[in-house]
Subunit: 313 residues, 2 copies
Amino acid sequence: MKIIIAGAGAMGSRFGLMLHQANNEVILIDGWQDHIDAINNNGLQANFDGEMVTESLEIYHQDDVSSIDFNADLVILFTKAMQLDSMMQSIQNMVGKNTKVLCLLNGIGHEDVIKNYVPLSNILLGNTMWTAGIEAPGKVKLFGNGSIDLQNLGADGQEAAEEVVAVLSEAKLNAKYSANILSSIYRKGCVNGTMNGLCTILDSNMADFGETDAADQIVEQIVSEFAAVAAMENADINVPEVLAQIKSCYNRETIGLHHPSMYQDLIINNRLTEIDYINGAIARKGKEYGIPTPYCSFLTKLVHAKEQVLAAV
Amino acid sequence: MKIIIAGAGAMGSRFGLMLHQANNEVILIDGWQDHIDAINNNGLQANFDGEMVTESLEIYHQDDVSSIDFNADLVILFTKAMQLDSMMQSIQNMVGKNTKVLCLLNGIGHEDVIKNYVPLSNILLGNTMWTAGIEAPGKVKLFGNGSIDLQNLGADGQEAAEEVVAVLSEAKLNAKYSANILSSIYRKGCVNGTMNGLCTILDSNMADFGETDAADQIVEQIVSEFAAVAAMENADINVPEVLAQIKSCYNRETIGLHHPSMYQDLIINNRLTEIDYINGAIARKGKEYGIPTPYCSFLTKLVHAKEQVLAAV
């Protein structure tokens, strides 16, 4: 298959590398020049479960792809949420009327951006449990196992989705077709929509937040807002199950002492957050559907205020 | 008049001193032993607009007043909000059926505590613009001018209220009768209910918060919740006026670079906050009146979570 990895950070590099090794024709597109230069000069270098691997992969800056002749069968989107729209613009000429576009970004509601560029019938949504890290430009660390669930967004796209599942699975990416991908996305959204914003605003790790008396009430209200919006899209959230999953984040023996990714973005690295694509998406959709989402709305505003107070970029 | 100052910190000391100088029979009651000892040993020492003043004032620990024979005409309450209930218990034997009780605490809804101990017809609510500071146990700094508005809470208490106004004014405390004290209390509550909690949660001064894009929307929502609850008690908040007053706090040339008192309590001094008597009071009353107050409720919970994350005491 001819595959574009649009957004070739840690996760995009993992997918690009594994799909390349499975004999697909892969090109990477990204916006980070140092990373692009390093891969062009030295190949993509991966510490792949302890083994050092170097692969020659084509990589282009997203500003330089308008003249490339590459009629992709599949685009896998792995940008940061706020860079999705500009990436979709950049790759327009490589997205034909049969190109499937698989969105694997974190967060909720990215289809609302993608469908401005791609017909609904070609959009696939996925949820991945793989992990990956960047060690330096051109160098990634790929440890452990993972999986992907995905589904067509349009009504009659299951066949195409199954085809993509097969290609990903052949590359050992453990893909499977999901009959209700939106439910998984909303479930993951509930975890991110509580831990990320709350630990960021409270300058707290997950365990310390989870042990406050207010934690349960705050979390239950936010999850109920996610569930109400999800229900409008026929996505079913099992609330007690999601609450149990969130509570497992408080465990000091496992991940409780960690700060979630948004905390690392804003508090540690002074970067803008993805709150608009988590709680902000629920607030926006809630407004469209006439569902009150005050906690998601307030938390989104607080995180944006904090970004400005800290002059994040 | 026989007057008890219940809560003899900085403001209580100011009122006690000025009422004593105007020949009232004043006793102070407090819970801070070092302060009590200092006043008993050396008198209350005040830097009173630059002049050093020492006055012998009776002061008692609130745990030691049950046997004191002092049938007060007036109790002026100046405790911290969370200490109000225990103070009311302590002074019960000195509060007779004709004793007026004037509440000058910051915050909203204190009458709900006081009326467990005092008939409505004896309760007066006030709002004061005086300031005062503690320099050391027994030593206070009293600078500048101020005023008090007050009103009876019961329907037929205006005469008693006017009498208290006269006593306070004779002591140069610039008191006046207010026809709608609840409106002033709610207006002040709006300023405290935005600046205090928001700057505390965002770890920000007032100017930096005020200049964020989210500030206006957050502030307007919180003020609208205060206004809706106030309206149920026939207290009228002029919303545009209150919003303008809040915006004046953002001014870097005047007070914008300051952190509000709750920030100082929690972030600087690691003390529990009075959030339950500001936004928390609106959330509680909103529930009673069937009015949604999600921003006040969420902000209250966030501040409590922050107190626990910081192990404030």
